[in-house]
């Protein structure tokens, strides 16, 4: 087990790939890998790319990869796609857009499914990000479909969040959920060669005026990702945002907040595992029967159990 970590620390790409699976599966080995490599983290610029399906996220990501590689920087990508709530499976197709990078050792692409676990995705992503950061990638791009809670989770994990929009996907303003605009550090209007792109840019500008973001104006970058149009400017904005964060010490603030949040999530994960084991062994047959026969309600059972567990741990009787 630890041999894997040793190889990873020595720069073995296959070991990195295996450890990413460990982190995704929340194993002990994964935790060890993060622990042993944590001193090497903190360098990478973490960029979240989110937006509705059809916006061209993978094309933009691929164009950014090419741009940064041309500039000599290494890039890792986490492409996150939703798992089916019913079957638990996922079709992960983002990689296709980035296949041209297959023999470039300076690029690493990993497809990840959300697996429908509350908080689980956030920990898998943060863990993976730590490993990729420690491995030495200059940039870690996290690509997600902007649906549900995930995009907010990703925003927490990233230094810079890019929100992608495209003209023609229904009423663009209504589909930009309230609050989603708040998390964006950079707005991108892709397929900007379409005639209705102008209106979208105008609408976005107006929405930004209504909002309130002190200290920095959110740039709107227009791209035509399929032709790499606007990509150089987008990359420049990404770098500019990074510089801004560093200069204004916001980066340090954000990082601290992020790491503390990760601590909280990890603590909760650990606690939930412990709790699951406890519950298994703590509910007696009598209690089960009482529940089923409606003699006692679930709230009471849960309260009693937790009180017992906590008393047992601390030895002191609980207040009240």
């Amino acid at each position: 087990m630890t041999e894997l970590v040793v190889r990873f620390l020595a720069g073995d790409r296959r070991a990195l790939s295996r450890l990413l699976s460990h982190v995704e599966n929340r194993t002990e080995t994964g935790s060890i890998a993060v622990r042993e490599s944590f001193t090497r983290t903190g360098r990478a610029h973490i960029v979240g790319v989110t937006g509705p399906p059809g916006a061209g996220k993978s094309t933009i990501t691929n164009a950014l990869i090419r741009h940064f590689r041309d500039g000599g920087r290494t890039v890792a990508v986490l492409a996150v796609d939703p798992s089916s709530a019913i079957t638990g499976g996922a079709a992960l197709g983002d990689r296709i857009r980035m296949m041209e990078n297959y023999d470039d050792p300076g690029v690493f692409i990993r497809s990840m499914a959300t697996r429908g676990q509350m908080g689980g995705l956030a920990l898998a992503v943060t863990g993976a990000t730590h490993l990729l950061d420690a491995f030495g990638f200059d940039l870690v791009l996290i690509e997600t479909v902007g649906v549900g809670q995930d995009e907010v989770d990703i925003a927490e994990a990233a230094d810079t969040t890019i929100l992608l929009q495209v003209p023609g996907l229904g009423d663009s303003i209504q589909t930009i959920k309230a609050g989603v605009l708040e998390i964006a550090d950079i707005l991108v209007v892709n397929k900007s060669d379409r005639p209705d792109a102008r209106q979208l840019v105008r609408d976005l500008r107006n929405m930004l005026l209504i909002g309130d973001r002190p200290g920095r104006e959110i740039p709107i970058v227009e791209t035509v990702a399929t032709e790499a149009g606007g990509i150089a400017r987008l990359a420049a904005e990404i770098d500019r945002h990074h510089a801004f964060l560093v200069e204004t010490l916001r980066r340090a603030e954000r990082v601290e907040r992020r790491l503390l949040r990760e601590v909280a999530l990890l603590a909760r994960e650990r606690f939930e595992r412990w709790l699951a084991v406890q519950l298994e062994s703590s509910i007696t047959i009598e209690e089960r029967r009482a529940l089923v026969n409606r003699l006692v309600d679930p709230g009471t059972v849960a309260g009693d159990l937790v009180d017992q567990m906590l008393e047992r741990r601390s030895g002191d009787p609980l207040p009240g």
Binding site: G54, A91, G93, I96, T226
Partner: protein
């Protein structure tokens, strides 16, 4: 012990639900509901008007056929798609087919050729001659057509990305034999739009590809009156998993896109429309397919006359080639495929096709052997000469079922055409993944139906027997690839280097300047530039297509 006879119930996992047959659900292969019986009332409620919608064979809207006497006047062309290995082997197969009574040639090219690559291209490794003949230069084309009277035989070429270059080789071969290009008759598939949605044999991006197609349409219109420059295809769309309705709708939409492009080039509708041809699949559901063909003619006739204002009646005719469905063939009990192909061929004939290819029984496993392909050809001939269905035009005309299905197919197709219009046309719809998504959805739906035994495939998910019948599989000449590589090397050695180099330079320049490339391609192939060299030359100008990935 007695063996009890099966009944239908034992082959299906759920017997259509309801015990009352009137209530049971029966659908076509494409999933469209079929009624227990059809009467005059069904025609009325579908809005059918016999004078407007049916007319007579040879009269607008040609539902009953584009000619008054149809096969009484002239049989459909028996045109068997053929090609494998090296040019020599395929030439032998062409002669075999002609000797056995086929009336038109159809060339299948191998994967490297379809993608504009020479046999010695590194990416061609392992792919030589496996699904068609390898043609890397004019030298191969000359061998391929050896002994074939190009002024007496029409040839169809299934080629899309590099169609213009391959066509140039065909023309050059004829001209070297003293046959003027205006005397040449045939069809170039050259339908790049369906490559982006179904068959994936594209090279350059969509806009450049359309430009090349329009170049060929323009060239044919001006110089080759007997040539069909485009064969707008639904066959491959269907093979990719689309329903019959989608096959027809997507094909018609593609057709209008080519017409629009030609009009934009400045050609007059009545100049080129008579030479736009079509190519459809013919699957198992007998009546659905017949309805599809008849609806196709009716819709196209209206489009040509009413939307585009064509005046020449020949512009209103939808002329099409049909191929029986490759995706319906099974590897299990391959002899059953003869029966499937026969039913499908009969539907194509009753649907009024101008030209027909029948699949061979072994094609789920390999390219056809001589024996298998002869049976396939004989299938057409038996229909033509022994069945009597050719004695009268559109024998099913007036049937309550056929006319109802035709009208309902037309209505469903029109709805899809409207949807495509709403997106802004074919190219925006391709960009948006509209076709690809629908095809993938229909394909998966069908697979699920087969898995649930809602759709029965005899010998595969019901009525199975043990073991595979041993049938002879086509063996290719193992020396073929080496011979081909030698030939390419020889061509490169012996051609006039100066003429060759300047022909490619001129081609590149013409591409940059957006000129019609046909004359430059002719010049390049006559200078023995290889297909791969021509493709690279054009890739340098147009780039390569990077597809959307819709699963």
């Amino acid at each position: 012990m007695d063996v009890m006879p099966h009944d239908d119930r034992s082959h299906r996992d759920r017997y259509r639900g309801a015990p009352d047959p009137e209530q049971r659900e029966f659908t076509t292969t494409s999933g469209e509901p079929v009624r227990a019986r059809y009467t005059a009332d069904d025609l009325t409620s579908a809005g059918f008007d016999a004078d407007r919608d049916l007319s007579v064979p040879g009269e607008f809207p040609f539902t009953r056929g584009i000619h008054p006497t149809m096969y009484r006047g002239r049989l459909w062309t028996m045109r068997m798609f053929a090609g494998f290995g090296s040019a020599e082997e395929t030439n032998r197969r062409f002669r075999f087919l002609l000797e056995h009574g086929e009336t038109g040639l159809s060339i299948a090219f191998d994967l490297p050729t379809l993608y504009g690559r020479d046999t010695d291209d590194p990416l061609s490794a392992g792919e030589f001659g496996k699904c068609g003949v390898a043609v890397s230069s004019l030298a191969d084309m000359e061998l391929l057509l050896d002994g074939i009277p190009l002024d007496h035989v029409t040839t169809s070429m299934t080629i899309n990305g590099p169609a213009a270059a391959i066509w140039a080789m065909y023309i050059a071969t004829a001209e070297k034999r003293g046959i003027p290009r205006a005397a040449l008759g045939g069809t170039l598939q050259n339908d790049i739009l369906k490559e982006f949605t179904a068959q994936n044999e594209y090279i350059y991006p969509p806009a450049a590809s359309m430009k090349l197609v329009t170049d060929t349409v323009e060239f044919a219109t001006r110089e080759m009156p007997r040539w069909n420059s485009v064969s707008v295809s639904g066959y491959h769309i269907r093979e990719a998993g689309a329903t019959a309705t989608e096959e027809l709708a997507f094909t018609l939409a593609d057709g209008t896109a080519y017409v629009d492009a030609a009009l934009e080039r400045g050609l007059d509708i009545d100049e080129f429309a008579p030479r736009i041809s079509f190519f459809f699949n013919c699957h198992n559901d007998f009546f659905e397919e017949i309805a599809k063909f008849r609806a196709a003619r009716r819709i196209w006739a209206h489009l040509m006359r009413d939307r585009y204002g064509a005046k020449n009646p020949r512009s209103w005719w939808m002329r099409f080639h049909t191929q029986t469905a490759g995706c319906s063939l099974t590897a299990q009990e391959p002899e059953n495929n003869i029966v499937r192909t026969t039913i499908q061929a009969l539907a194509g004939v009753l649907g009024g096709t101008q030209s027909l290819h029948t699949n061979s029984l072994d094609e789920a496993l390999a390219l056809p052997s001589d024996w298998a392909v002869r049976i396939a050809l004989r299938t057409q001939q038996i229909i033509a000469y022994e069945s009597g269905v050719t004695n009268s035009a559109d024998p099913l005309g007036g049937s309550y079922l056929v006319e109802s299905m035709t009208t309902e197919m037309e209505q469903r197709v029109r709805r899809i055409l409207d949807e495509i219009d709403e997106i802004g046309g074919v190219l925006p719809a391709i960009d948006a993944g509209y076709f690809q998504r629908r095809i993938a959805d229909s394909s998966y739906r069908y697979e699920q139906a087969v898995a649930a035994r809602d759709k029965i495939v005899v010998g595969v998910n019901a009525l199975r027997s043990d073991g595979m019948a041993g049938i002879p599989i086509l063996q290719m000449d193992p020396e073929g690839e080496e011979r081909q590589r030698e030939r390419i090397a020889q061509v490169r050695r012996e051609r006039d280097q100066t003429v060759w180099r300047s022909s490619l330079a001129a081609l590149k320049e013409a591409a940059r300047r957006d000129q019609n490339l046909m004359p430059y391609l002719l010049r390049a192939v006559k200078a023995y530039a290889t297909l791969g060299e021509i493709t690279e030359c054009l890739k340098a100008v147009y780039g390569e297509h990077r597809p959307l990935a819709i699963v």
